[in-house]
Each structure stands twice: as C-alpha cells, then as structure tokens.
C-alpha cells in the first residue's frame, strides 16, 4: 500500500513529467500506422514518436510495473494506475507495442532465470526485440496440449522441428516463445517445455495467412532442424505448461482490453449513430430498436469496466475473489463484437465494402475491424474454453472431455 499523500505527490510528479516529455502529436488518438513497435528492424513512424518512446524507455515507463533492474520503473499497482490514468487524461499514446511486453515479460518475471530476465526483459523494455507467440499448431488449437512440434536433446542444444500457426506478425518478429514437446511418453501436459527461439536461427521460416479482414496479421511459422541453445529453456524441462498458463492469464487480460489499445475511430459510437441515423426533436435516435441496443451495449461495456475496477480494488484491499478475473476475456471480447455488429448495422450500405484498399476512410476501417475482431473470441482460448474454465474453477463443476 502506498501512502495516499505520497500517491498524490506521485500523481503530480507524473503529470509534470508527461507534460514535459510527451510531444503534442503523441497525445492524439493513435492510428495503426503510427503505433510504435519494437524490434531489430523497427522504424519510428515519426521523430516525435521516437522522442516519446525514448523518454519513456529512459524512465522505465515502457514497462512501468516491472522491477527497475530489468528496465521497468518498479511502480506499485497503485502508482501504475495513477500513471495509466494520467496518460489517459492527457491522451498519451502507448509508448511501445510488443507481445513480449504484454505476455512473455510477465511470465518471465515468474519463471525466468536471472540471466533470462536480465537479457530478455531489458531488451523488451528498450524496444530492441520484437516477440511472436508460438503456441497453436494446425492440429492443436483449443486442445493446445496435444501439440506436436518437438525439441530433441542434442548435447548443448535442442533441435526443433514442426510448425506453429496464428503466430501474430511472426514475419516481423525477432524472437518467438514456443511450446514444444520434449517427452512423448509423459501425459500430454507433462511432456511440454517452454523455449525461446531466435527467429534468425537457421531453419526458421514464416508464411503470412490472409484473413477475412483482408489483412495478414497472422503467419504460419516452420521449424526445420532449428538448433536452440539449452539456456533458452524457461522453467523446468517438461514444466512448460505452468509457464504457458501464467502467460495465458496475461494474454487474456490483454485481449479483454484490446479495445483500449487499438486505433480510435474519428467518431464515438454515439456520434456515429447520430450521424448515420439522425435524431428526433428530443434528440432520440430515429430508430428506436437500434437506440435500445446501443443503450444495452453501453451499459454492459460500462459494467465490464466496473468489474475490472472491482477486481483491482479487491486486490488492493486484500479481499480477492479469484473467480472474477476468469470472466473478463469472455465478457470483454463478446462485448467488443457486439459493438462491431452495431457499427455495421449503423453504417448500412456504406458498411458493405472492403474493396479498394486505397481508400482508407473511417467506414472501411470499421468494417475491417469488425472482420478482424471475429478472432477475439477464438484466439487466446476460445469463448467455449473460457466457459469450461468458469464452470470448473468458478462454479466447481466437474471437468468434461479431458483437461482444458
């Protein structure tokens, strides 16, 4: 617990710092082409973006709640929230986008060796390495534990063979964290290890997968006799499942909040509705049924935020109800899709084309988003898997169809 007075002082300090260090252009709603991604091949979208990133990097604000010795700022959860709120208030863009930051890092903090933390966490915070995730395989989706990509012991290294799918932006990544099979005879979850693999290693190749949104966000990644030094094993040999589960928690948390991180459209939902539908004399939207749906959606969206706030406050007060975080991914992703469907309905005939990518207007972006967001209830554990988990861990009902 941070003393409220200290917290107030911290708020002032952070507000002043942001005021001085965040260029005005970095306080505008972020568009996709201006997101700051890390990596060996990184290119800053603008000089201001570089200035903003470097200021945050030097202050540890790319990973505010990580320990300072690994490149973070070592903030408490309360201080972190103050920073987040102040950034939101000023409209500051996220200084860095990276899956290493959102997913691998928090898992390494728990399971990584001291050397791994020093090497990888620092590089992530400094935006020097871009990470991809190698979990799913063509034959292992919801049943992730049946994965077949194997890592065979070969003295000082593992030799990796197999393929991973839905590896987000793997064609631009420097490293990939992978689940690999290291014991064929053990029960399936107990024969899996967690490996960090340099994408520049001999034998790694990627191939983008065109999606219904017209983008190729995901790749398939192939491993052909790839040698991986043994020090890149995270956690115990055959203990990768625990690391994977820790990481999944962060992945799901991120996916429930994905709406906050993406590109903000020019008009809010209410503004768009007023623009598309027109209003009655009293200001009510012309289509009562859509008005009703919108109110329903906004109420739910706000309630999801309240659920998040409740979880945060419980943590702070030491009165944690461990069932609640299990609900965030299911509720959050479903509500994002409900919003997308509403938007499509509002756009009417203007929302029916994805052709002619040279036209990048607000409607087209929204339609692409609608199509892309269909992945949200699939990636990171499908909604059906989430419901299995809730039944088992929140309601105490028996496991079905093996482990999930």
């Amino acid at each position: 617990m941070t003393d409220p007075q200290d917290l107030q002082a911290f708020r002032q300090e952070v507000a002043d710092w942001l005021e001085q260090n965040c260029p005005l252009s970095q306080r505008q709603p972020v568009v996709q082409s201006e997101q700051i991604w890390g990596g060996r091949k990184r290119q800053f979208p603008s000089d201001d973006a570089r200035t903003w990133f470097e200021a945050c990097r030097d202050r540890g604000f790319t990973a505010p709640d990580w320990p300072a010795e690994y490149g973070g700022a070592g903030l408490t959860s309360e201080q972190h929230k103050v920073l987040t709120n102040e950034m939101k208030r000023l409209g500051c863009r996220p200084p860095l986008y990276d899956q290493g930051l959102w997913m691998l890092g928090p898992a390494l903090l728990v399971y990584g060796s001291e050397e791994q933390k020093r090497e990888h966490l620092t590089a992530i915070c400094r935006g020097e390495v871009r990470w991809a995730q190698g979990y799913s395989e063509p034959g292992a989706g919801s049943d992730l534990a049946s994965l077949k990509t194997r890592a065979d012991d070969d003295g000082d290294a593992f030799v990796v063979n197999g393929t991973k799918i839905w590896t987000t932006k793997a064609d631009q990544a420097d490293w990939i964290f992978c689940l690999v099979r290291t014991d064929d005879d053990a029960p399936k979850q107990q024969g899996i290890s967690f490996l960090l693999i340099d994408m520049e290693s001999e034998g790694v190749s990627t191939s983008p997968i065109p999606l219904i949104s017209g983008e190729s966000e995901f790749c398939q990644t192939f491993f052909d006799n790839v040698r991986v030094p043994k020090e890149n094993l995270v956690g115990e040999l055959n203990g990768g499942w625990s690391v994977a589960k820790e990481l999944l928690k962060h992945e799901r948390k991120m996916m429930a909040m994905v709406g906050d991180m993406g590109e903000k459209p020019a008009l809010s939902l209410v503004e768009l509705a007023r623009h598309c539908l027109g209003t009655e004399d009293d200001g009510a939207l012309n289509k009562p049924a859509i008005r009703d749906h919108m109110a329903q959606h906004l109420m739910r969206e706000q309630a999801i935020a309240s659920l998040g706030e409740r979880i945060y406050q419980q943590g702070k007060a030491g009165q944690v109800d461990s069932r609640l975080p299990l609900l965030m991914k299911y509720l959050g992703t479903r509500e994002i899709q409900a919003k997308d469907e509403l938007i499509l309905e509002l756009l009417g005939a203007e929302g029916l084309t994805m052709e002619d990518p040279s036209i990048v207007d607000d409607s087209r972006k929204r339609v692409k988003q609608w199509a892309f967001n269909k992945a949200l209830t699939i990636a990171g554990g499908t909604s059906e898997i989430q419901l299995n988990i809730i039944a088992k861990r929140a309601l105490g009902m028996p496991s079905v169809g093996g482990k999930s």
Binding site: D292, M299, R300, E309, I390, M397
Partner: protein
C-alpha cells in the same frame, strides 16, 4: 466497491437473522394470509430493533450513517432469502422521500417515528400499468386531490401514503396523507411474489388532512429517491440471482441421469457459466452505483438505470434457467425456485422495466 469490516459484519448478521427466522418459510405463510397482511410484524419489529431503518440515515438524525454500499449488501442478503419486509417500501422509499423532500422541521418531527417503526410509510408512484417515474395521475384542484395510484408496495399496511401530485400551479408536489383520511380508499392485493400491493383511489381528498413536503427542492428529491431505490432493488435482485444460481449448480451436481451427474454435461455447464458472467457483470454495475451514491454524486440517474436494467435482465435469465435446469422439480411449488421466479417478474415492473431504463439511459447519454 469494497465492503468495510463493519458492513460485512452487519451483512453476515442479517444473513444469520434471515436464515434463523426462515424468511422463505415466512413468505410461504404470508401467501396464505388475507391480503391486508403485508409482512410478518414480529420479524419487522426485530429488524427495527437491529437498526435497519437507520442504515443510511445521517448520524445527525440518529441514524447509523452506514453507507449505501452497506445497505446494498443487506438488500442482497434479503434477496437471497426472499425476505418479505418493508425494506424497499418504507426504508428506501418512504423514509428517503422524507429526507430528500422534507423541510428540516418535517424531518425532525417525523423521522423518529419512522426509525422506531412507530409509523410505516409507503410511496405511491404511478397510476398507470407501467412505471413512469411518477405520473400526473393524481391532481390538485381547489385544495382537493383526486385520481388513483396502483401497485403501491405495502400500501395497505402503511400509516401514511406519500405520493407525487400535479399541483394547481402546474408544479409537482409530494404529499403525505394518513391512510385513513376521508376520500382515500385503499384496496389491498397480493401479487404473485406473495407480497402486498395496494391500489389507492383519491376522491376529492381535502389537502388539509395531510402535509406537503416542503424542503428546498422537492422535484429533485423525488427523482433522487427513486434513483436510489432502483439501485437498492437491483441489489436485492442480484441476491436472488446469486441464490438461484448456487442452488441450480448444486442441484446439477447431485442429480444423476444416464448414470452420470448432470453437472458433467458441457451444455449445462456453459449455461451456468454464462449465467454466472451475467450475475457478476450486474453485481459490478450495482456496486458501482452504490459507490457513486456514497461518494455523494448528484447525477446518479444513469447509474441507477444501468443497474436496474441489467438486474432485470439478469434475474429474468437466471430465474428462467433455474426453473428449466431443475427439470420437473422446477415447476413444483414444493421447490422455492418458483417463488424466486415470481418475485423476479414483479421486481421487473417495480421501479421500471428494462426498456424504460434503456430509453432513459440513452437520453442521458445524448442519443
């Protein structure tokens, strides 16, 4: 959104109290009584002795100043036990209306009678089939009131009826009239939730028989009272939903068909999980609304509509699912499930249906 230790203790004490007094059994007995009986007066007397009426009343008026979060927790417990008591009619509506619309002198005069349970006050809101937030169904002409009000909770048990009146000058006033006054006829009915509601006719009732609440902002006070009551009713409904879902999961865990427990079927698990998501989503909205009241926010209408609309939909879903998932037992009167189902549908109508609240929420949000 976090309960203090005191609030938790009080909540737990109330849970013990309702369990010990067999609140649901009391409701079953109540169904057999004539309609003029509104609740078990013995239980109510003990709740008064525990200090329930003073929960959110400021200390300067000899209340406990316990906070709305605390009152919400008690409403939730009450909903779990389907406890028939004048918590909503008297404590949250009648008493709050006095505090929010009455003058200092009126509060000083009447409040002690309410806190001690000496008088019971009920609030008559609308005269129409649907909730409208207080309509012009009773009007004042030449200092006489005429019109009617319907679905007044505990209205035939009350010593005094409070109601909004369209006054001769076109403004809305809040009038408090003794139940036995000349021209006031009260007709008691028992609704399907086993509780008492009254239809009340006002036939040229002379205003000199009662008093006009004359605090500084009567219209705001009226709206604020209803908004707060919506949130407390939503909290009660969350309690009922929580109880129902727990009982349903328990039932599925015990009942066997095809040689296995029903709880092993994924189709049933998913329905329970979805219900649980709705429950905690709604509970979070209600806690946010209670916290907003405790922070003293003046604009709580959007919070209140959000809480009540979500609570309506959540309890409608969970009570229907509970009946279905209990199978044949779900439609027997022997099981309590049906009592919750019926309470759910009455609670939907009290203080506003979901579509009413969504329309208000939309207006408040500028669409």
């Amino acid at each position: 959104m976090i309960f203090t230790e005191e609030q938790q203790l009080f909540r737990d004490a109330m849970a013990d109290f309702f369990a010990k007094h067999g609140a649901i059994q009391a409701l079953r007995q109540l169904r057999e009584e004539p309609a003029n009986v509104a609740f078990d007066t013995q239980i109510w007397a003990e709740l008064v002795a525990l200090g329930l009426p003073g929960m959110v009343v400021p200390e300067e008026y000899d209340g406990l100043s316990f906070g709305w979060l605390g009152l919400g927790a008690i409403a939730e417990v009450s909903g779990r036990h389907l406890a028939p008591s004048p918590l909503l009619s008297h404590v949250v509506l009648g008493q709050e209306l006095l505090l929010n619309c009455g003058s200092t002198a009126q509060i000083a005069h009447y409040l002690p009678l309410l806190l001690s349970g000496t008088e019971l006050w009920a609030v008559a809101i609308d005269g129409h089939r649907f909730f409208q937030g207080g309509d012009g169904s009773v009007v004042e002409v030449d200092e006489r009131l005429s019109g009617k009000k319907v679905l007044v909770p505990d209205g035939a048990a009350a010593d005094r009826i409070l109601l909004p009146v369209r006054r001769a000058d076109g403004n809305v006033g809040v009038f408090a009239v003794p139940a036995g006054s000349a021209g006031v006829s009260v007709e008691a009915a028992r609704m399907m939730d086993g509780r008492q509601y009254a239809n009340i006719e006002f036939d040229e009732v002379e205003a000199s028989q009662g008093v006009w609440l004359c605090g500084s902002s009567v219209e705001n006070g009226w709206r604020l009272t209803l908004d707060r009551a919506m949130v407390v009713l939503a909290a009660e409904m969350v309690g009922s939903a929580r109880e129902l879902l727990e009982r349903t999961v328990q039932f599925l865990t015990e009942r066997e068909q095809f040689g296995v427990k029903l709880a092993t079927f994924q189709a049933l698990q998913h329905r329970c999980s979805m219900a649980y998501c709705e429950l905690e989503l709604t509970a979070s909205a209600v806690l946010a609304a209670l916290s907003a009241i405790d922070r003293g926010e003046s604009q709580i209408a959007a919070y209140a509509s959000q809480a009540k609309a979500l609570a309506n939909d959540c309890l409608t879903l969970i009570s229907s699912e509970a009946v279905q998932l209990h199978g044949g037992m779900g439609v027997t009167d022997e099981m309590d499930i049906g009592l919750f189902l019926k309470r759910s549908r009455v609670a939907n109508q009290l203080l506003g249906t979901s579509d009413w609240h969504r329309a208000r929420f939309a207006s408040l949000a500028g669409f």
